[in-house]
Point group: C2
Chain length 428, copies 2
């Protein structure tokens, strides 16, 4: 074994192997070999005694955050127009903004700011919707590769029920998607294209069928929206009365777990849809801020967890206003408490460790062995200095809870992705 | 008229004279005379043409934020223990911390950090619960006076159903309260003692009666908690079956609007209680983050507003985790959207201007002519630099919305209280 490929970090190590509790190693060690976790232990293993330890003292070392749902072109709209529900908000704010991304100069300006914001907030992996535009999607893929952050980036597909400047020709949409998949699927280990039908109402059956085939052909991941809003669910039922649930439409076209798939929202998923998600291993991207802001409701996260459905967290910029995974964790816990009340105590609220799990390992699983400090996991990590949040003579578990609730990007000192320290992204 | 006492500020002026809309003066002028607003106008009035204008360029000028409910001694507990409901949370986290404030050195260390946090977040006026301790309450009053920020600070009264180290002797409790009122009621124009029965379950009728009399004698304001949690409401009903509502108990003892009164939470106030609040002019301090965190529920803010009850915003540190009025505004809007769903569309959600109103003029009214830029109002203001939030070529209304949703303390450049610029508080 060459010791050259080994790094050892020391500090207060916190992660969630399971959602039920924090695993905490006070003054513990993480041994990283070839950019992956080799082991985590309370004392330094004898065989590594000659290796220089990078000592982070009393700081916290936690997994990087994973954001499984956000829209790059909506970044400039954060905090705007949130007096509307989903469908009118799309028409008024979202679609006009998305039409601008045929202009690569404009796109680049926005993407720079988006990637910096993700970096700042310690979001080391993310699942991104771009627009319909092929060239700007490639630009965003290239910019993520340059940044060192991990991401799945999808050219959006939509060929019906959209404004004229965003409605694609079906064959052209598939052709552009395939071109991106071919060029980028193997270009980077951590930045990849993802098949991205916008949502059922904006995709013809022919387009969904073609996208399902492309996902399979290129072994690509899939992302879309599901059961966000009652009007949207009713619209899908009207468009496809032949299917039992909204999710069944995607399923029919090979876009519901046939390849690894994440579905954003799932606020109004019924028991049949939840069963299908469980059966197919479909991930939920729970986006509580967006579901609040667009008056969509509160997703039954406890029900998903009880039934073994995989759940992750999404910011849903700009339905959600904040890229902060901390804010999303807090909102997830808070929303679950309102759901606990609504269910008259049937659906337990989320604990802090569960929210942390959703924001790390829960979403990380969509990327592979990501989001935890277990053997063979990619070393994606954040170094947290929480001295400004109060006294440090409380337990490490209390310190991580306090950081989640009252910390912000200023507490994140360093970010690592697959073992490499990521500096603030700079683009020309 | 001496021009020496006149100051003129220029910038993009935003405030809410009424809750229904933002009043916006793009590149407008605020004329301040003797620390109060003289006028606000789009061009500089002729008679002031010789006065030097303090030009804030393209920045926003908004009223300072008003936080009508928070607990100073709970500041170190922010973000801790939020997996519990109100009553167990009080027992486990709150009361043990509050017992420490007989130690003035400990108290001072916490108060320094609290006042700095309020300053940082642009909270220019606040209503504060301290502990039962007389000396630490005086210390906190003195520290606020030194800081230049406005505050009502209350020595908490509790003489039943509390842990032994926090249960007061009734007469001593009244005596200590009177001593503080006598010494401080006229000491400062903007920092004053406030009568603060903790809540009905912890105050005997004798204590409440005495506090009502003291409030009247010293013409002092009153604050307490009301109808936060179903168990608490049931407990009050059990203690006082002779009263129609929880609020009626306070009312009976002269603590419900006989002097200006603010009641925190009011999540479970029924129609009778709401009518009494309206009749007596009692202010609600709506604390959405706390109500989420402690699983209390969502207050019927729209119902309060429809019925003409005065509503303000509270952080409720540390039931609420954040001192940011921006976060509280967003939570208020989001909570109202969930209440809109629960009421099947009967209770409209809050607009952004309504949330802003609650955080400025709504709470400011409790302090006098505070929280708006109207003639004779105290000039309490924040200068906002929002350049880092995105492009500035959107409307001023959109810029204020964006600041509310995605801004933070870093966007607050300057803070003014009654016309004076307030620097970051420094204590020995």
């Amino acid at each position: 074994m060459s010791n050259q490929s080994i790094k050892i970090f020391k500090g207060n190590i916190v992660f969630t192997k399971t959602k039920n509790e924090f695993t905490i190693l006070e003054n513990g060690y993480i041994v990283i070999k070839d950019d992956k976790i080799e082991e985590v232990s309370s004392s330094i293993p004898e065989k590594y005694k000659d290796i220089n330890v990078i000592d982070h003292g009393n700081k916290l070392i936690i997994p990087g955050f994973v954001d499984t749902h956000l829209h790059a072109p909506q970044f400039p709209n954060r905090g705007l127009g949130l007096d509307k529900e989903l469908l009118p908000w799309l028409e008024t704010y979202t679609f006009p903004e998305e039409a601008k991304y045929s202009d690569l100069n404009y796109a680049k300006k926005v993407y720079k700011r988006l990637i910096s914001e993700l970096w700042k907030n310690g979001v080391t992996r993310s699942c991104i919707f771009n627009t319909i535009h092929k060239e700007s999607t490639k630009l965003l893929l290239d910019m993520f590769i340059k940044s060192g952050l991990g991401a799945f980036v999808g050219k959006v597909n939509m060929d019906r029920n959209s404004s004229s400047d965003l409605t694609e020709n079906t064959q052209q949409s598939l052709k552009d998607t395939e071109e991106i998949l071919r060029e980028y699927i193997d270009k980077s280990d951590i930045v990849k294209p993802i098949v991205t039908p916008r949502f059922v109402p904006s995709c013809t059956p022919e387009l969904m069928k073609g996208l399902g085939e492309l996902a399979k052909k290129y072994n690509a991941h899939v992302q879309s929206h599901l059961s966000e809003n009652p009007s949207e669910v009713a619209w899908v039922k009207e468009l496809h009365p032949e299917f039992d649930t909204y999710g069944s439409v995607y399923d029919h076209f090979g876009l519901f777990g046939q390849q690894p798939t994440v579905m954003a929202h799932c606020v109004h998923s019924d028991d049949n849809e939840i069963s299908l998600m469980k059966k197919n291993g479909v991930f939920v991207s729970h986006c509580p801020h967006s579901n609040y802001n667009l008056s969509s409701g509160i997703a039954p996260v406890r029900k998903f967890l009880n039934q073994g459905v995989k759940v992750s967290l999404g910011s849903d910029i700009s339905g959600g206003h904040t890229a902060s995974s901390l804010h999303c964790m807090v909102a997830a816990v808070q929303a679950s408490k309102m759901r606990w009340i609504d269910s008259e105590g049937e659906l337990d609220s989320l604990t802090t460790s569960e929210a942390f799990y959703l924001a790390t390992k829960g979403g990380g699983e969509f990327f592979g062995k990501v989001g935890s400090f277990e053997k063979e996991y990619d070393f994606d990590a954040l170094i947290i200095d929480d001295r400004n949040l109060g006294e440090l003579d409380i337990t490490i578990k209390e310190r991580i809870q306090r950081f989640i609730y009252i910390g912000d990007d200023r507490n994140i000192l360093e970010r690592y992705v697959t073992g490499k320290k990521i500096e603030e992204p700079k683009f020309d």
